[in-house]
């Protein structure tokens, strides 16, 4: 075991799969010589060479399109899109191509591309460096959508994603790259060193795709969330004194409904929470599934906590971000429903 932050865990995952499988290649903007703007690929080009860690032109559609072609020719590409906010020029290649090549060719062709991309707010990134577009990808059949909330899961899920023959869009909540964030921007930042999930095996291991995890045990309320908000939910639950269970979805699609439903059947109350905008959001899918699976166990309508339905504002980041205060208010009002 070693202490790793999320960046180190992701780098370790890449290092291990590249060492194990010569067909794994990494490409993206600034990933090579420089090692990535968030340092996730630091040192990999020196170790594996310029043919396997490739600095790409600034063309996300080209990066994803070329990665698909590489995957069709036996490689296992890991494409980095520098910010999830930049992924849209490559959207057609993901939706119309990557997601459907296996299907439309009856399994004859497939391309096992993993797209890594930092997402989410809380870093003063404004509306072009803070978005959480996971719902848009979760809506597309044929790709897996994943978002870890800690270093241990980040490494295990990333190895599983790269080794999977399915294409994966792997979202990395950049606010928690260096440490868990409880949603209170006025508190000093903490690192991963004191967090149990900062203990990361140095070798190869996987965290299974398609499996949620209970991040905090509780009996009165279930908060279903993922990414940065897992830590916000845990902190808010502790602060309110409500014995809330926090479920970390981890694999957004395909979704592990059973773990979610089991928790809600136990607690009888449910809040779904994400940073992304609410309308038509992923929380609506979670709420619909929970309502169907747990209707006779529910003691209150399912609550939703999400980003406001506006672009992500620079100056009002902490009014926008569904932080500890909003989460606590949501928990309290949920518990007041008779």
């Amino acid at each position: 075991m070693a202490q790793m932050n999320m960046i180190e865990a992701i780098r370790s995952a890449l290092d291990i799969v590249m060492d194990k499988d010569p067909n794994v290649v990494v490409l993206g903007e600034d990933v090579g010589y420089f090692g990535g703007v968030f340092r996730c690929t630091d040192g990999l080009q020196r170790k594996y060479g310029e043919h396997r860690v490739i600095d790409a032109p600034i063309a996300e559609g080209g990066i994803i399109g070329a990665a698909i072609g590489m995957g069709l020719n036996g490689l296992r590409p890991v494409a980095e899109i520098q910010f999830a906010d930049y992924i849209y020029p490559g959207f057609d290649q993901v939706v119309s191509e990557l997601a459907r090549i296996r299907y439309r060719s009856s399994g004859e062709f497939f391309s096992p591309v993993t797209i890594r991309t930092p997402c989410g707010g809380g870093i003063r990134g404004g509306q072009t460096h803070s978005q959480s577009p996971e719902a848009i990808f979760a809506h597309v059949s044929g790709i897996r959508t994943v978002m870890p909330s800690n270093p241990y899961d980040a490494k295990g899920l990333l190895i599983a994603s790269i080794e999977s023959d399915d294409p994966v869009v792997f979202f990395e909540p950049k606010r928690i790259y260096n440490g868990p964030f409880d949603g209170d921007p006025d508190k000093p930042a903490v690192g991963w060193t004191s967090h149990p999930k900062g203990d990361v095996p140095e070798g190869h291991y996987t965290v299974p795709l398609g499996k949620a995890e209970i991040a905090r045990q509780g009996s009165e309320l279930t908060i279903i969330t993922y990414g940065t908000l897992v830590h916000v939910a845990i902190a808010a639950a502790a602060a309110t004194g409500v014995d809330a269970e926090v479920v970390d979805v981890r694999s957004i699609s395909p979704l592990d409904v059973d773990t979610l439903a089991e928790s809600v059947r136990k607690t009888g109350r449910c809040i779904v929470a994400h940073e992304a905008t609410r309308f038509g959001g992923y929380g609506a899918e979670l709420a619909a599934r929970i309502q169907k699976e747990c209707f006779w166990h529910l003691e209150a309508p399912i609550g939703r906590i999400a980003g406001w339905d506006t672009p992500y504002p620079h100056a009002f980041e902490w009014q926008y971000f569904p932080g500890k205060k909003r989460m606590m208010a949501g928990i309290r009002s949920m518990m007041e429903i008779e």
Binding site: A66, E97, V257
Partner: protein
């Protein structure tokens, strides 16, 4: 000429329905007039290839000039056979669509040399990333007519298991990628595939095709950039058939400079070739393939041709272009030109040609008869709808397993499959 104020230029074709066809806008060149450079030539020294027009068959049907590949007549007879098969297959499938027996079809009429000429010049290990009018590639790479027909029928032998529109074939064993239906998306795939070939140290190359209209897509530019940056061993073909449904090639930006010149700014050599001259298509493809295989990087080839038919069975070109425009196209019909060449050289005759046409008609007829045995749109056997949930992921996930169960329950009149 400079005007006194800015003015929106609306590109207009030279002829609309009722007008005399007018192809004066096409820059032509005499057969044999374009020099053939070494495959190691620098791009800056061969820019003339992008503005000229490589032609080998002259007006008297002789093969002339430095690009003449001196192909064996037997090989040319085979090429003629493939092009004719493509034509007859298309003709029959078009009729079949008109009879309502398939939902959709697209023919390659007038563009057969683009696929067959290139296919002959490539090696079997080279990977093709086709557009929707490249059915000739599939035929040449060994896909049986009956399998192509079964795909169009979405029947029990459909290679796509009923998931794709007719003509969206694929062939893993033939190294031809799955046709998407979205335009230009295959271009960056070809470049990525070629990059992987170079990364792995193999000498296979990739080739892709798209239309003049699709050059406006971002994927075209992404592909060219990546191909140039990494010197990927890839051949990027623009099939300039003058029409993108109803918009002529000027609407895609072809009025001032040829599409072959699109790569020059990136240092990619461009070759403008007579796409209706099978020999010329073969020769330039072979040149570009040799160059790519020996580390010379990508080549952009503009195949100048004409879309002899409608865009698809859903289209009516009489609404936007003169009916007789193809007959006036100065580069003629690729099949007729190769046929006349072989006749002039004493390797073919009208009689042999008629016999071949009869043979191919019978081949297509027999294939259609066989294809229907695997099911039609109205008569079984039918594909099992349960298979629609397969191949979305490598393994069937729980939610699809459950949706499949519910679908089958509803189809069999049981359960509450809709309520989930």
């Amino acid at each position: 000429m400079a005007t006194k104020k800015s003015r929106l230029h609306i590109p207009r074709p030279t002829a609309r329905p009722g007008d005399q066809p007018d192809f004066r806008y096409l820059d032509l060149a005499e057969a044999g007039s374009v020099d053939k450079p070494s495959i190691s030539a620098r791009t800056r020294d061969i820019e003339y290839l992008s503005s000229g027009l490589v032609r080998i068959l002259d007006d008297e049907h002789h093969a002339v000039g430095p690009w003449n590949p001196d192909l064996d007549p037997a090989k040319l007879q085979v090429a003629l056979r493939w092009m004719l098969l493509n034509r007859h297959f298309d003709k029959r499938m078009w009729q079949i669509q008109r009879q309502g027996r398939i939902s959709f079809y697209m023919e390659a009429k007038g563009e057969e040399a683009v696929s067959i000429g290139a296919a002959m010049a490539l090696r079997s290990g080279d990977m093709c990333f086709p557009s929707y009018r490249n059915q000739g590639l599939f035929m040449y790479r060994g896909v049986k007519l009956v399998d192509m027909m079964c795909q169009c029928l979405s029947n029990t032998r459909d290679m796509c298991k009923g998931r794709q529109l007719p003509i969206m074939y694929h062939s893993k064993s033939g190294n031809v990628f799955s046709i998407s239906g979205n335009l230009a998306t295959q271009y960056p795939h070809a470049v990525g595939w070629a990059m992987a070939s170079a990364i792995k140290g193999e000498d296979h190359i990739a080739a892709s095709w798209l239309g003049d209209g699709s050059t406006a897509e971002a994927d075209f530019h992404h592909a060219l950039t990546f191909a140039a940056v990494y010197q990927a061993p890839v051949i990027l073909n623009v099939v300039n058939n003058q029409w993108a449904i109803s918009t002529f090639q000027g609407t895609a930006g072809g009025e001032r400079r040829p599409f072959a010149a699109r790569g020059l700014g990136l240092g990619i050599p461009g070759i403008r070739v007579d796409g209706n001259d099978l020999l010329a298509v073969y020769a330039v493809t072979l040149w570009a393939a040799d160059r790519a295989r020996r580390g010379g990087g990508p080549t952009l080839i503009e195949n100048v041709t004409y879309r002899g038919g409608a865009h698809s069975t859903s289209d009516d070109p009489s609404k936007y272009r003169p009916k007789d425009e193809w007959a006036a196209f100065p580069l003629g019909d690729p099949i007729e030109r190769l046929k006349q060449h072989l006749i002039v050289e004493g390797h073919w005759s009208e009689k042999k040609h008629e016999a071949l046409e009869e043979e191919l008609r019978a081949e297509v007829h027999a294939a259609w008869k066989e294809a229907q045995q695997y099911g039609t749109m109205t008569e079984g056997p039918f594909l099992d709808p349960a298979t629609m949930f397969d191949d979305v992921y490598a393994e069937l996930p729980h939610h699809l397993e459950s949706q499949r169960r519910r679908m089958l329950e509803v189809e069999s009149g049981n359960g509450n499959g809709g309520n989930s």
